[in-house]
């Protein structure tokens, strides 16, 4: 219909004067112009213009309303209009067109009535003709769309003026079958079929209203669809501007999905007829998936502006909820041949956070993770086609700014800035994305984290539990999506009154693959910037937890602990034997001037420790621990630990020890060598100048050479050597046992029990015995009451957790004669 009107208008506009004269003659003697012959002539003229009209029968009835005023009734049977150039083919079984007019005031011919117009039982077919791509781009728009704010074309103005005073009678167009075929790329075609019913009439207030019902029986992606549009124009029916439409559309999609759209569209400008403003509400539902969007904006052939708010539920399995509020989208045409379209986006977004993998979630069930996050998405993209299609390439920048997350235990936030390039249909395959990442998570209160993790398998190791401070994890740097590398940085600033833990770790988290499950690899370099740790007191006497007296402190991770690294490797049974997480971590002291300092109550000065450890997911810990030179007191003398090195090797029990303590004397220097393995450490004594072993032990324990000792003390020297050889005493027990004044040492090689007597005061001594061969440990106090009388009180198995504790008191009377 619009093509026909356009054609008629196009013809009339060429001859404005003769057109007016023809109209006057038409209303005075219409039978002269409107008759069967004239209609046949009109048919021929229309054919010349590419519009083919045909009908089976026609009739013309003229009703006189006055001398120069007539009402003309045209009736057609099987009226068809074909426009091959535009691919339009339409037929109506019955067409009744009525109009009235006359020559009125000022001798101006004027149409006074349009309608009723009935086009009933019709069919319309539109098959998109084959056109060049450049022509196709403008074919989707009405012919010659006006530039913004430019007046409509003269043709349309003539029509508007000619019809503006005409009284509109009802209009009814009935299309029982509509077929639209649009060409795609190559041989592809898009079809839709349906039917439509249009009614329109004038309102009493001088406006116009209409109703359009459209049903689609065949529509791409839809099982069925329908729309109900209510059109209105308060200024009149034949106005080109001022139209408003209320839209209610619905569609049924496969898999029980449905789509509902309600809204209003209105012409926004009298000068730009194709500029509209709209307000839409769209809803999509498919079982649990729901999407509700509200859009408000404007559009014209060169741009689209929208403000979008809405929410989506369960659109993705990992995403329970996502929403936008006040999202601004602006699509416009720009003066660039290569990139004619530009999209600018500014969207506040909120989304629920996905659940953690099963195993990790179970372990973190006492940590209240945030349920949602807010972010702002900004994008500035160019497309090689306007409007953009799925086939068109885009390039530009996308920024994601995370709103700071402030929740139970952590603060977090950051940004992701990415320059992207690729085809929309292929996202994310074959896309180029250069991304700058700046994400951070801070734990402001380590103490609160410790308390929460106490309820999980990831509780914090005892010496670190009293620390206060914060931990910060950053992912900062360039993210390479082709290889999946994410740079990481971990910093800790933790301290208590006597301990400190400042770490600075740099690393990369790599994505190795996604099938069958995501596999990650962590490479990290952990620098121990400032570390001061307190060691537990080492028990002297055997306890149920330490059956061997004061063993070497355990340097390797306790295998009974659930390591977070091991947990990440196999988070659930479903992961099977394939580790989902592997790691390669190097822990070291980066600054020789700031070694790790170990504090122990047994040694007053901190032990400086140089650390170099290598932790890998598929093998035991290897590396080196080196205690640097520091002063200490041994055997009541100021000595120097020259060095103590532990080489961690697989298996851990075979890790080697190499240490030396130098005990200086005026005439010689005694060196105590610590050798062997972690499982079986050994002590060796050498001196410079060389001395026999018994002389060395004599000097160490009693401070005097062997020949200066009494027989009891000489016997003690022999016992000590035997005890040392049998491993009854270790260096640590020697260290603090030697801090007291040793009176004598006894050793039973059968029970491997050694007994030390300490002089506490004149006539009073303390005895401590311990063994490794099943002998019972004991502590005793011996007091000489008089020249002949001695009382000794002994506590057997002094540990309160041992069942067979016993206490005995012995009173001795001796007389030597």
């Amino acid at each position: 219909m619009s093509s026909i009107l356009g054609w008629i208008g196009g013809k009339l506009s060429a001859l404005p004067g003769p057109a007016m004269a023809a109209l006057t003659l038409l209303f005075a003697h219409p039978q002269l112009l409107i008759n069967g012959r004239a209609l046949e002539l009109a048919k021929r003229l229309a054919a010349g213009a590419g519009v083919h009209l045909s009908w089976k029968a026609q009739s013309v009835r003229i009703e006189s309303l006055g001398v120069l005023s007539k009402r003309i009734h045209l009736s057609f049977d099987d009226l068809c209009v074909r426009i091959p150039k535009d691919g339009v083919d339409s037929c109506f079984a019955k067409a009744n067109i009525t109009f009235a007019g006359g020559v009125i005031h000022g001798l101006k011919p004027r149409l006074t009535e349009i309608g009723p117009i009935e086009l009933l039982d019709g069919e319309l077919a539109y098959r998109e003709p084959q056109v060049s791509p450049a022509a196709k781009q403008s074919a989707g728009q009405l012919a010659a769309p006006p530039k913004p704010n430019q007046a409509p074309s003269p043709i349309l103005q003539v029509f508007e003026r000619a019809l503006e005073h005409a009284q509109i009678q009802p209009l009814h167009v009935q299309l029982g079958h509509i077929l639209v075929v649009q060409r795609g790329s190559g041989q592809a075609q898009t079809r839709w079929q349906g039917n439509a019913d249009l009614t329109a009439q004038a309102t009493r207030a001088g406006g116009a209203t209409g109703e359009l019902l459209v049903n689609a029986t065949e529509l791409p992606a839809f099982r069925s669809a329908g729309a109900h549009l209510t059109l209105s124009n308060s200024h009149g029916f034949w106005r080109l501007s001022g139209w408003r439409a209320e839209v209610h559309a619905h569609g049924a999609l496969p898999e029980e999905a449905s789509l509902q759209v309600d809204g209003e569209v209105a012409q926004a400008s009298a000068k730009n007829l194709l500029a509209i403003s709209y307000r839409m509400s769209a809803g999509y539902a498919q079982m649990r998936r729901k999407l509700q969007m509200n859009l408000v904006g404007t559009a014209d052939p060169d741009q689209l502006q929208a403000t979008v708010s809405g929410e989506a539920h369960h659109l993705l399995p990992e995403l329970a909820r996502a929403g936008v509020k006040g999202c601004q989208i602006h699509l416009r045409k720009q003066a660039s041949r290569a990139w004619p379209a530009r999209v600018v986006l500014d969207c506040p977004v909120s989304a629920s956070l996905p659940s953690l993998p099963g195993g990790l979630k179970g372990n973190l069930r006492w940590v209240r993770l945030p349920k949602s996050a807010q972010a702002r998405v900004r994008a500035d993209l160019q497309s090689e086609a306007f409007p953009p299609s799925l086939d068109s390439a885009v390039n530009g920048s996308v920024d994601l700014e995370l709103q700071p997350l402030d929740w139970d235990l952590m603060h977090g936030g950051g940004h992701i800035r990415s320059h992207v390039q690729g085809e929309l249909a292929n996202f994310p395959r074959h896309w180029k994305m250069d991304t700058d990442l700046g994400l951070w998570v801070k734990i402001p209160s380590f103490r609160r984290l410790v308390r929460r993790l106490d309820q999980t398998h990831l509780s914090i190791w005892a010496p670190l539990r009293p620390l206060r401070g914060q931990v910060e994890l950053q992912a900062q740097g360039r993210l390479d999506t082709r290889t999946g590398n994410l740079p990481l940085r971990l910093q800790t600033h933790l301290a208590s009154r006597i301990q400190k833990l400042d770490l600075d770790a740099h690393g990369v988290l790599k994505l190795l693959g996604l099938k069958p499950s995501p596999r990650l690899h962590l490479s990290m370099d952990v620098g121990l910037k400032d570390v001061r740790l307190e060691l537990p007191p080492l028990p002297v006497l055997p306890t149920p937890t330490s059956p061997k007296p004061d063993p070497m402190p355990q340097l390797l991770p306790d295998g009974r602990f659930h390591s977070p690294l091991k947990l990440a490797q196999f988070p659930s049974q479903a992961a099977g034997r394939v580790p989902t997480f592997t790691y390669d971590i190097h822990v070291h002291t980066p600054d020789a001037a700031h070694p790790v300092r170990l504090l122990t109550p047994q040694i007053h000065a901190p032990i400086p420790l140089e650390v170099s450890l290598h932790l890998q997911s598929d093998r035991p810990v290897t590396g080196r621990l080196r205690a640097e030179s520091f002063p200490l007191k041994l055997f009541r003398r100021d000595v120097k630990l020259d060095h103590l090195m532990v080489h961690l090797l697989p298996p851990p029990k075979e890790s080697s020890i190499d240490g030396q303590i130098q005990v200086p004397y005026s005439e010689y220097t005694i060196s105590i060598l610590l050798l062997g393995t972690l499982e079986r450490p050994q002590l060796r004594f050498i001196s410079d100048p060389p001395l026999p072993d018994d002389q060395i032990v004599s000097v160490l324990i009693f401070g005097r050479p062997l020949d200066a000792l009494d027989p009891d003390q000489q016997r003690s020297v022999g016992n000590s050597r035997a005890a040392l050889r049998q491993g009854v005493f270790s260096l640590f027990s020697l260290y603090y046992l030697s801090s007291l004044n040793i009176e004598s040492i006894d050793y039973d090689p059968e029970t491997k029990t050694a007994s030390l007597q300490y002089r506490l005061a004149e006539g009073t001594s303390l005895s401590v015995s311990q063994g490794v061969g099943g002998g019972q440990p004991s502590v005793g106090l011996r007091r000489r009451l008089s020249k002949h009388l001695v009382v000794t009180t002994t506590l057997l198995n002094p540990s309160p957790e041992q069942a067979n504790r016993a206490i005995s008191t012995l009173l001795e009377w001796a007389y030597q004669y």
Partner: protein, 194 residues
């Protein structure tokens, strides 16, 4: 059967936090290589709390307790066939510190229960000596699984010293009711970590 927390094990030589529980059971039946029929159960435990997790600790709260019972038709007495270690006694540095060692009751009981709350001041710069306060409570019963009056209690105070070879403790407490088992009691112990 023993249950011990990581903290308790780590600081075993100088306890400051954590918990430990122990359950022992002895089952004897006359028909199975035993001259008596008796089942003896002993559940003990202790917990320590480092106030606000200070490092080094400033204040340590401790709670020690036990529930003990022997199920047997035999009762304590001079003609009892049960050995003495099948009966339960309170009194001593391990449970009621205001009573003499294993004096409550004199002949033994079939059931005993005790609870010892204690607070220790650890960082008072007293040359390593740590004072502490306690209030021990306990009860015994002549029948298995039952408790009789009176309720025994002993408030007191003590000193603790950590030496290189172990912990020395001394306590002074008054047991109530004074008659027949209570009164002022002094203890000196070595190796008891609580």
């Amino acid at each position: 059967m023993r249950l011990r927390s990581h903290d308790y094990e780590y600081w075993a030589a100088d306890p400051r936090s954590g918990y430990s529980f122990q359950l022992t059971a002895d089952l004897s039946n006359r028909n199975l290589a035993s001259s008596i029929s008796a089942q003896r159960f002993n559940l003990t435990g202790e917990g320590l709390y480092n106030f606000r997790n200070y490092d080094p600790p400033f204040l340590i709260f401790g709670l020690r307790g036990g529930i003990q019972t022997t199920i047997s038709p035999t009762r304590p007495g001079t003609d009892s066939r049960l050995p003495a270690n099948y009966f339960w006694y309170l009194g001593g540095s391990q449970d009621l510190r205001g009573f003499s060692l294993q004096s409550v009751p004199s002949q033994g009981a079939m059931t005993a229960i005790y609870l010892d709350p204690e607070v220790r001041f650890t960082d008072l710069s007293l040359w390593g000596v740590q004072p502490f306060l306690f209030y021990d409570v306990g009860a015994v019963g002549m029948e298995p699984g039952t408790l009789d009056s009176p309720l025994f209690y002993s408030p007191g105070l003590g000193l603790r010293y950590k030496s290189p070879i172990g912990i020395f403790r001394t306590t002074l407490a008054r047991g109530f009711p004074v008659f027949p088992y209570g009164g002022w009691t002094f203890y000196f112990s070595f190796g008891e970590e609580f």
